[in-house]
């Protein structure tokens, strides 16, 4: 693709009324069931995420099926709506397999033309929140790595697979094609790892003599995996936006209330300018994240560029906002009880997920024909 001065698709960067309604529904559920103390407690427990909360989100609100057409058992909405859900999940650093199962795995299956057959069945289950599935690739794999992922056989170990510990099904890319492997079957070992971000569990997956159902041949599978990773990266930007927004809001609140030198510390210009700068970044991140969601929803030809731009930008904003949040909270920000650290860990891990900003810069360079020297 060459750089086009004007893209055919005019993006809609605002939120619709329906999207705002969806946001309120998700937010009130999360406020009631996944506040900061609950999330901290969950990270210290052995369960990867709250099953009941997941059921309410996935099937109660119907969030799991947003990307899936009605005839395939979903809500027939799209990426713009799923992005709103992710903003809220980011705002609460909620442990839930939404990005991995309801976005990435779901998109992979959708791209396989799944009417009927095992892919269609699985898709309907994911959309209804009856099962969860994850793509068995390292969490750091960028969309550009999809083709390279189609290699090897079913015998393998894959590290840092996000949300695998509680998943029912693994989507495994091999040289022959894409397989669906049930995690409960023989020959499948899912070993939890110790993640930097405790709110998104990672596991090492080992397949040795496991049985799998072939969903697609290598060619179409590669296209589908790439589509899944592209959607994951694109909508991750909305999660990052939610993280950044929470960090800014909370920092503003804290520095307005915290008094030192007989005045609120937020009244020092040194801090005011930094928070104002963050605001500018959050505003910009919102535009980039909305653009990626809208381009994915529309199937726009420049979706890969929109996603790369959003990832290259929003990753940094989320990390910056979380780092400022810790710093401007002072000693409190360094403690375990205060949730700031959860956001920092999530933001930092997210900046590696589906490709680092540097990888996405390379994609931008390729797509815009601005090669390295």
């Amino acid at each position: 693709m060459s750089a086009q001065p004007e893209t055919a698709h005019a993006p809609d960067l605002l939120y619709s009324e329906a999207e705002e309604d969806l946001r309120s529904a998700v937010r009130s559920l999360l406020t009631a069931r996944a506040d900061a103390p609950a999330v901290i407690a969950a990270t210290e427990s052995a369960t990867p995420y709250d099953q009941e909360l997941w059921a309410s989100l996935a099937s109660g609100i119907g969030a799991a099926g947003l990307l899936v057409p009605e005839k395939l058992g979903g809500q027939g909405a799209g990426h713009r709506e799923a992005a709103v859900v992710l903003e809220e999940l980011g705002r609460g650093v909620v442990p839930a397999p939404y990005l991995t199962s309801s976005v990435v795995a779901t998109e992979v299956l959708l791209a396989l033309d799944p009417l009927g057959g095992p892919a269609g069945e699985l898709l309907a289950d994911l959309a209804a929140g009856r099962r969860t599935a994850v793509l068995a690739l390292p969490f750091a794999t960028p969309p550009a790595g999809a083709r390279a992922a189609m290699a090897g056989g079913l015998e393998r170990t894959v590290t840092t697979v996000a949300d695998a510990a509680a998943a029912d099904v693994l989507l495994v890319p091999t040289a022959e094609g894409l397989y669906a492997v049930g995690t409960a079957g023989t020959g499948v070992t899912v070993e939890p790892l110790v993640p930097l971000d405790l709110t998104r569990p990672l596991a090492s997956v080992t397949l040795a003599g496991a049985a799998g159902a072939l969903l697609a041949e290598a060619g179409p599978a590669a296209v589908a995996v790439e589509r899944g990773l592209l959607s994951g990266a694109g909508l991750l930007a909305s999660e990052q936006l939610g993280i950044a927004e929470w960090c800014l809001t909370e920092t503003v609140r804290h520095t307005r209330e915290r008094h030192q030198f007989n005045r609120p510390v937020g009244s020092f210009q040194a801090l005011k300018h930094r928070m104002a700068q963050l605001w500018l970044e959050v505003v910009s991140a919102r535009a980039a994240a909305r653009n990626a969601a809208d381009a994915l929803a529309a199937g726009a030809p420049d979706a890969p560029l929109a996603v790369a731009v959003a990832q290259a930008y929003c990753s940094k904003v989320a990390v910056h906002a979380a780092e400022e949040c810790v710093q401007l909270h002072g000693g409190v920000g360094m403690t375990w009880e205060h949730p700031a650290h959860l956001y920092l860990k999530r933001a930092k891990a997210d900046s590696t997920a589906y490709g680092t900003p540097g990888r996405h810069h390379e994609t931008v360079a390729r797509l815009t024909e601005l090669p390295a020297p």
Partner: protein, 396 residues
């Protein structure tokens, strides 16, 4: 320069010490005691207190000779607060008795120290502290709560500031004490931090009795004494001498060299920028030391902690990204209570998280920048409405 205090004299003394106590056959504690008594612990301290009254710069001569001979050191990491902060304050403000009592076990590492300064309501604005010390005969009775106290769980002694006159403006009603951490009124509770471990603590002081002989400096002048501690704290956090590629930059450079597969253009640019900045920070520290030796101390000291914090954070952040899949993992979240404060150890994730404290502990970067702006550049201070009001009348 007198015979006792030039480099050759130091070298001779060091060789005498090594001859009388060969490191290979002398126990660690015995060697350290002999070193202290030979005046080679901190040569700029007075004779009898571990020093020779020599210029500070000559310590490097002794250290180099001792290191070359394989002599044990006094593990400055473990005793950082005592060495870097309590000792210079005791030296500056202590009575002869206090110096005799505290300095030797402190340097030998037999007694660990902590710093009971910060409180929930008084961090950057340390002078707003509310812990009370009330005179009772020959003792002071102390009540209050301290927070973020690193190493309180292993400390034998603490430097403590407390309010002795709430009727005076906040800077004038403070006194400075040495607090016995084994006093029954001292309760230390672990405070878990971002890294998962509990390196710092909350400390509750209830009817703690401190003899007046453990006061440092005059009653009501604790703020002035505390300034000495804080200045030394800043220098001791950012001021360590390191070789090229020492510290965090060395770790990430090694990772880079060993993992070609992880490289991207973006990371390369950032790595080189940080490499240059780390090298320049090292040179700035070196220049500062040379200025000190030449007797022209510059204000760069205030900048070293700022540079140290920013570099540690950016370099460790880069390393987490560089490591890709491995950077998504963490070594261990178990709540431990480490004996030493460890900035550079363990995995990249730990270093990244711990380094966030570097711009908060020992004075935040924002507060240090204010100090540079006002005291170094002479810019006008922010208007203040807290300086002349009695502490008890301040809004809290």
């Amino acid at each position: 320069m007198t015979a006792a205090t030039d480099a050759d004299a130091i070298r001779r003394r060091t060789q005498d010490l090594l001859a009388a106590h060969p490191p290979a056959t002398t126990g660690r504690a015995e060697f350290l005691r002999a070193r202290f008594d030979a005046g080679l612990a901190w040569v700029h301290y007075p004779a009898g207190l571990g020093g020779l009254g020599a210029p500070r710069s000559l310590q490097a001569v002794a250290d180099a000779e001792l290191a070359a001979a394989g002599a044990p050191d006094n593990d400055p990491r473990r005793i950082g607060i005592g060495l870097g902060m309590a000792a210079p304050t005791i030296l500056g403000y202590g009575t002869d008795e206090q110096k005799q009592r505290f300095l030797r076990p402190l340097w030998l590492g037999e007694e660990v120290w902590c710093q009971l300064f910060s409180e929930p309501g008084a961090g950057s604005d340390l002078a707003a502290l509310g812990t009370r010390a009330v005179r009772d005969g020959d003792d002071w009775v102390v009540d209050g709560q301290k927070v973020w106290t690193s190493s309180a769980h292993v400390a034998r002694w603490a430097i403590l500031i407390a309010r002795t006159d709430p009727g005076l403006p906040k800077h004038r009603g403070i006194s400075y004490f040495v607090c016995d951490m084994t006093d029954p009124g001292v309760e230390v509770r672990p405070l878990r931090q971002i890294t998962g471990e509990a390196e710092f603590n909350e400390v509750f002081l209830t009817g703690v009795r401190i003899p007046d002989s453990h006061r440092l400096g005059p009653v009501g002048e604790g703020w002035k004494v505390a300034q000495t501690t804080l200045m030394n704290e800043r220098v001791s956090i950012g001021g360590a001498r390191i070789p090229r590629e020492g510290g965090m930059i060395g770790t990430v450079a090694k990772t880079w060299r060993e993992h070609p597969g992880l490289r991207t253009h973006d990371l390369h640019q950032r790595l080189l920028t940080l490499w240059v900045e780390a090298e320049v920070a090292r040179l700035t520290g070196e220049r500062l030391r040379q200025q000190l030796v030449a007797g022209q101390p510059g204000p760069e000291g205030s900048g070293m902690k700022l540079a140290f914090a920013r570099l540690n954070q950016e370099i460790s952040g880069l390393e987490v990204e560089l490591l890709g899949d491995e950077g998504l993992l963490y070594g261990d979240w178990t709540m431990r209570r480490p004996e030493i404060v460890d900035f550079t150890g363990r995995d990249a994730g730990y270093r990244y998280l711990r380094s966030k404290g570097n711009s908060i502990e020992g004075g935040t970067s924002e507060v240090l920048l204010n100090i540079v702006a006002e005291r170094v550049l002479g810019l006008p201070a922010e208007p203040r409405n807290d300086k002349d009001v009695a502490w008890k009348d301040l809004a809290r």
